[in-house]
């Protein structure tokens, strides 16, 4: 079987696994645990989509929450103001439509911001994207029909385990395939040495914009999922801090390591919840759980600056276990 066909097979296996897992999850977990699981899934989508921009293409974006906000507002506004609450198959179909609409509007925003600002590099780009995120927040705050600073409330709850992790599976599939294509090579070339890449004819601007558009698209979808789970979205939740939270997940997981980033997203979303109940030597962690959260970030950065799985390569790992010799990297296509 060719590599391409195999990746489709993996996607199908992934879908089957998610549907299979959903039954014990829905039955065995109470609604609090389920909420953690869904929040973990949404964080994973956000982190993995930012990883395309920050990790693979090496562009330091600090505006990911802005894309998420656009997606969340588009999807939620469509549901609450245009379609209304529905049930059954119509609901699932409409949910897909609004999610994609959210993703597309975020992608358009990604394109609009990408074209002029991606001529900038490093810190300058970080500042522009940061400004973009804040602009989105402030603009949303001042649009009365979208609820102003209170935001959109009363969004029906459509997001389920299958939706969240199904979309995550698609994102992983897209990322893995993208990275094995010309685009992926372009992303890496842009990240590793922009000048060298330009000099051999790689259109780095094109790759940067592509990474931005794809990343923004999935961030928008994540926003839609978030809105349809939390029942209320407000501009304040898509501020600078949210963007930083996502960047931290990417850096902690290891820039450019999809699995590492997913692991970090899960850890960082779960840890604050886990710390609610922990008691060591009679001290309740509840009161300073955010301190512990911050402390674990500092420690991890000191002892694993490359991130959790920054230098981990799944294929090499499997090969090592099987005891097969390492293939030269250049033959990979």
């Amino acid at each position: 079987m060719s590599r391409k066909h195999r990746s489709y097979l993996y996607l199908l296996i992934g879908f089957a696994a998610i549907i299979g897992l959903s039954f014990p999850f829905e039955a065995g977990l109470n609604s609090y645990d389920m909420r953690i699981v869904i929040n973990v899934g949404i964080s994973m989508i956000l982190a993995a989509s930012l990883n395309l921009i920050n990790g693979f293409t090496g562009q330091f974006s600090l505006g990911h929450a802005g894309f998420m906000a656009i997606g969340a507002y588009t999807a939620s506004a469509l549901t609450t103001m245009v379609f209304g609450t529905t049930e059954g198959t119509t609901q699932e179909l409409l949910f897909l439509v609004v999610l994609i609409a959210g993703g597309v509007s975020a992608a358009i925003a990604g394109l609009l911001i990408g074209i002029p600002s991606l001529r900038l590099k490093g810190d300058y780009l970080a500042i522009v994207t940061l400004g973009f995120g804040e602009i989105i927040r402030v603009v949303l705050q001042n649009i009365e029909p979208l609820g102003g600073s209170l935001g959109i409330s009363g969004i029906p709850r459509y997001t389920t385990f299958i939706w969240t992790f199904g979309i995550l599976a698609v994102l992983i599939f897209v990322t893995e395939n993208l990275m094995r294509s010309t685009y992926g090579r372009g992303f890496l070339a842009t990240r590793d040495d922009e000048i060298a890449a330009e000099s051999v004819g790689v259109n780095t601007t094109k790759y940067k914009v592509t990474a931005f558009v794809v990343g923004a698209f999935f961030a928008g979808i994540a926003g839609g999922l978030y809105g349809h789970y939390n029942s209320l979205i407000r501009p304040l939740d898509f501020g600078f801090l949210k963007s930083v939270e996502i960047v931290v997940m990417v850096i902690l997981g290891g820039m450019g390591s999809t699995w590492g980033v997913l692991l970090a997203a899960a850890l960082l979303t779960y840890l604050p919840e886990a710390l609610r109940e922990v008691e060591l030597f009679g001290i309740k962690f509840r009161d300073f759980r955010m301190t512990i959260y911050a402390l674990s970030l500092i420690l991890l950065m000191i002892f694993r600056p490359q991130g959790l799985l920054g230098d981990f390569n799944a294929e090499e790992f499997i090969r090592k276990i099987r005891g097969k010799p390492k293939k030269p990297a250049t033959t990979e296509t």
Partner: protein
């Protein structure tokens, strides 16, 4: 060495994860009544969340010292929301699903209460919010009253109206400028209702200027306002910005009084250099610390003894909310959620610190507001405004 430390660290993490897997199965503890409070103990509005929690804790201590409710002790579980909607959902869901609380208390910010309200509805657990003033918390967008959600405070429209009425009738002002916080739904709501009432009464709103929370320079807005020469300025914001606004207004030579809402209520408002600037200003509030009735006096003294500070409105509302819950459980005679919900909706003339509280058909509290005047840095009672 590094490897060892990394291993240790990973071990600690794993330990934390394992140790929290084993809770949740202890719902059938019948010797205590569990009350859950989800509050912003960190983040933007942490002061309000902490104040509310202190008020509730004080009430729980008193109730337990007096033999508890239905012969059982009350166990208060407080969960942090970090002032974010994501954590508000998690905290509310945890209290209901893992801890199995009888009643959910919480949130100061209306947006955070709005995340928890659908959860309370779905899980059919009564929820009582001490200080969320947005009307939508108890009545959803389609005008349906949420069956399980109640509040013990008045709502934004009422507070805005009260201040407009006060400005027009008690202060006889005619021309007012508004300076609101655009990032804050509470401030926007108050400004809107103030404007409507004031204009309906024949007054004139000269301008509606906006600022953003965390801003520190308000001179451009204030200069505009100064040039219009208003009789008073309505600043329905939180105390953090109001102090700075007052100081800068006085620097610019604006001498007219500033008017505000319950967001002003913090000892921080008139601390140090801000004392002069806020002299002679007025704001609407839930109660007055200076109230000399025995009930309020006992409360403020006890609070002072426990925490070494005077209680703010949020503490008083938290305290009242807890007592109303205890009262409802007593009247219901059980901790069954339907019975408690019914008892809560039938709360009538409950003598609280913040006035006599009656829960109306829309699950709001019907009660009067007080207007406080700032005199020598102290919040002194000025007038009571009836609904």
């Amino acid at each position: 060495m590094y490897r060892l430390i990394t291993l240790l660290f990973a071990g600690l993490l794993a330990g934390i994860m394992i140790s929290c897997g084993g809770n949740g199965g202890n719902e059938e503890e019948s010797d205590v009544i569990k009350i859950g409070h989800f509050a912003s103990l960190q983040g933007d509005i942490a002061t309000f969340g902490q104040q509310t929690d202190k008020g509730i804790k004080l009430a729980v201590e008193e109730i337990n010292a007096n033999g508890g409710v239905l012969g059982k002790q009350i166990q208060l579980i407080t969960e942090d929301t970090r002032s974010t909607t994501q954590d508000a959902g998690l905290a509310a869901e945890k209290l209901i699903s893992n801890d199995g609380v009888t009643v959910l208390l919480g949130e100061v910010a209306s947006s955070l209460s709005l995340v928890a309200a659908p959860i309370a509805e779905r899980e059919q657990v009564p929820m009582l919010t001490p200080s969320s003033t947005n009307p939508e918390v108890t009545v959803d967008k389609n005008g349906n009253v949420r069956k399980y959600v109640f509040r013990v405070c008045f709502i934004d429209p009422f507070q805005g109206k009260v201040m407009a009425k006060f400005a027009k009738e008690n202060l006889s002002t005619q021309r007012i400028a508004i300076l609101k916080d655009n990032a804050n739904d509470y401030s926007v709501g108050l400004a809107k209702n103030f404007r409507e009432t004031f204009e309906a009464m024949g007054g004139e709103i000269l301008a509606e200027q906006a600022f953003e929370a965390k801003q520190v320079d308000f001179k451009s807005q204030l200069t505009d306002i100064r040039d219009m020469n208003p009789d008073a300025i309505y600043v329905p914001g939180y105390y953090t910005e109001v102090s700075l606004i007052a100081e800068q207004a006085r620097d610019l030579g604006i001498t007219v009084p500033l008017l505000g809402g319950d967001g002003w209520d913090s000892p921080e408002l008139t601390k140090g250099k801000f004392k002069e600037a806020l002299e002679g200003c007025y704001f609407s509030n839930h109660y007055s610390v200076e109230d000399t009735t025995a009930k309020v006096k006992a409360f403020t003294e006890k609070y002072d003894q426990s925490y070494g500070e005077l209680p703010g409105a949020m503490s008083a509302l938290g305290y009242d909310a807890m007592y109303i819950v205890a009262d409802a459980i007593t009247r219901a005679g059980s901790t069954d959620s339907e019975a408690v919900t019914k008892a809560l909706s039938e709360t009538k003339d409950f003598p609280g610190i913040t006035g006599n509280i009656t829960i109306d058909e829309q699950h709001n509290a019907e009660k009067s507001a007080v207007v406080l005047m700032i005199k020598e840095g102290k919040f002194t009672y000025f007038a009571t405004m009836e609904p």
